[in-house]
């Protein structure tokens, strides 16, 4: 269970997250939605240790994530796919994927190999491009690679920041289906940030609506999806 209590974070004087509290259940997809600048990406960056929190607490399966470096947090099973196409352009596709599993390579040699081949099975396009430099991939291919890089570490919590960005509708469907599948089969928990509230709420179990850095709604996804007043107030439709 991911538990966030009274979290506050800021960029210098800009308060990006003001007192956020919610919990995300293990094995479930929780989606965080909200308008541009609501603080969704910041929230994920604070969870994964990329940005410091001013105060509050974040615990994942009993471990506090606060004041830990990103690399330590990844080792606790929290993988983050940040906004944009977070791959390393000058490394090949294969190296990018391998990189995601580096820290497990000694302890879980066998499993790393399996995980890598699973990624290629998931995105055959990447297998075709194994030795191509990631920088020359198309935008969507890069996004697939970024997701593979995160999944190959066999996370227990996956932080996904706008995975649909730049992906063809078909691929979005496929990725969402895969993630849903993983949740069921491996108990993966997902925190999904999306602009696209409908898509997100359609797949998620639970929804958290942010506005200007605060939680304005925290309820089952199906309820939130049905609440048109909420949507028009905070999402503009």
């Amino acid at each position: 269970m991911l538990e966030i209590r009274n979290l506050i974070a800021s960029y210098g004087p800009v308060l990006a997250i003001r007192d956020i509290s919610f919990t995300a259940d293990a094995g479930k997809i929780t989606t965080v939605i909200g308008a541009n600048g609501a603080g969704k990406s910041t929230l994920l960056r604070v969870i994964s240790g990329l940005e410091p929190a001013t105060s509050g607490s974040i615990t994942w399966q009993g471990h506090s994530l606060l004041n830990k470096t990103p690399e330590a947090i990844v080792r606790l099973g929290v993988a983050h796919v940040p906004e944009g196409h977070a791959v390393i352009a000058s490394l090949t596709v294969a190296e990018n994927i391998e990189m995601g599993a580096l820290f497990r390579r000694r302890a879980h040699k066998q499993d790393v190999r399996v995980a890598i081949s699973e990624m290629y099975a998931l995105f055959p396009r990447l297998e075709e491009r194994r030795n191509q430099l990631a920088g020359t991939l198309s935008g969507g291919e890069r996004q697939m690679l970024a997701i593979s890089r995160a999944l190959v570490s066999r996370p227990s919590l996956l932080l996904l920041d706008e995975p649909s960005l730049g992906l063809a509708p078909l691929v979005v469907e496929q990725i969402i289906a895969t993630i849903k599948q993983l949740c069921i089969s491996t108990g993966l928990s997902v925190l999904l940030v999306e602009q696209n509230a409908n898509t997100a709420l359609a797949v998620a179990d639970h929804g958290v609506l942010l506005s200007l850095g605060s939680v304005v709604a925290d309820q089952p996804a199906s309820l939130m999806r049905a609440d048109s007043a909420l949507r028009s107030a905070y999402l503009g439709y």
Partner: protein, 303 residues
């Protein structure tokens, strides 16, 4: 014919040392994305340490090992004291543009160079020093003729080739090598992949420190040691690294040998006064014809 042969050997042995310097530069470049202009300052410092040990009666190999360790520590120190705080800075203000982010570490490393040279001046400046070689530095004799190279020359070449082989394998075949490359190229993504970038960076600085100390220890026997003597070597080594493409370890070694030969040829067939001019012209020609260096990846037109 004899002259040609001498030139060839001279170029090769000198080139080996340049190659070592270039490798040190490439190591930091690939591990931390920075060209370390303080590198030969570090080498000078650790060679002075070795020299002081030897003068005070310690054995050569003890001093040699100490210098390598000192090199590693200095490299690590430079990373922890300078480069880490630098990379922690937010990318705003003057660091907002990529060109400045590439420039600022260069300046920082020049600051380190100044500090190291001044410290060495304070500690040891009173005189220039020689430095011993580990193996016999007397021309090899075979078939009653003196060969144009010494055992020490052979030693240098072997050391360089071994270092090349070891580091190349390290980078391409090991996880730590991949971690280093990833860290240099995109620290944020590297951290998100669980790579402990602090350690990885420090390690690459330390390795580079060892390589450059090695270069210092191997070049000073044929020249002298003073706070500034290794500056020129750095410049030649840098040129070698750029000629090789700055990315590629084999490239840097080839670059080192090319420059060694170039300098030998200019020295022998033209005049030593023209060495640096030749260096400049060669560098410009390489960069104009192949801006990414001979072994560098081709840069794509990009928006």
């Amino acid at each position: 014919m004899d002259t040609a042969l001498t030139t060839l050997f001279l170029g090769t042995t000198r080139g080996a040392v340049f190659a070592l310097v270039a490798m040190g530069l490439v190591l930091v470049w690939r591990g931390a994305g920075i060209v370390n202009f303080a590198q030969m300052g570090q080498a000078m410092f650790s060679t002075y340490i070795a020299s002081s040990l030897i003068i005070s009666g310690h054995g050569y190999w003890f001093a040699f090992a100490t210098a390598l360790i000192a090199g590693a520590l200095l490299g690590a120190l430079v990373d922890v004291a300078v480069m880490r705080p630098l990379t922690k800075r937010s990318h705003s203000g003057i660091l907002a543009s990529e060109s400045m982010r590439a420039t600022v570490p260069v300046i920082a490393s020049l600051g380190i160079l100044g500090i190291l040279q001044s410290l060495a001046g304070m500690l040891w400046a009173a005189e220039e020093r020689g430095f011993p070689s580990p193996v016999s530095d007397v021309a090899v004799k075979a078939f009653g003729k003196t060969a144009p190279f010494t055992n020490f020359d052979l030693f240098i070449i072997i050391v360089v080739l071994l270092t090349l082989a070891a580091t190349t394998l390290f980078f391409t075949k090991t996880g730590m090598g991949l971690a280093m490359r990833a860290t240099a190229l995109n620290p944020e993504v590297a951290r998100l992949s669980g790579i402990r970038i602090g350690r990885v960076r420090t390690l690459s600085w330390a390795i580079s420190g060892v390589a450059s100390s090695l270069a210092g220890l191997l070049i000073t026997p044929s020249a002298n040691l003073s706070p500034n003597t290794l500056d020129l070597i750095l410049i030649v080594g840098f040129t070698a690294a750029v000629v090789g493409g700055l990315e590629s370890l084999p490239g840097s070694v080839v670059g080192g040998f090319i420059l060694g030969l170039l300098i030998a040829v200019v020295n022998v067939y033209d005049a030593p006064d023209d060495v640096f001019l030749a260096l400049l012209i060669f560098l410009l020609v390489v960069l104009i014809v192949k801006p990414g260096g001979l072994f560098g990846s081709k840069r794509v037109r990009n928006v």
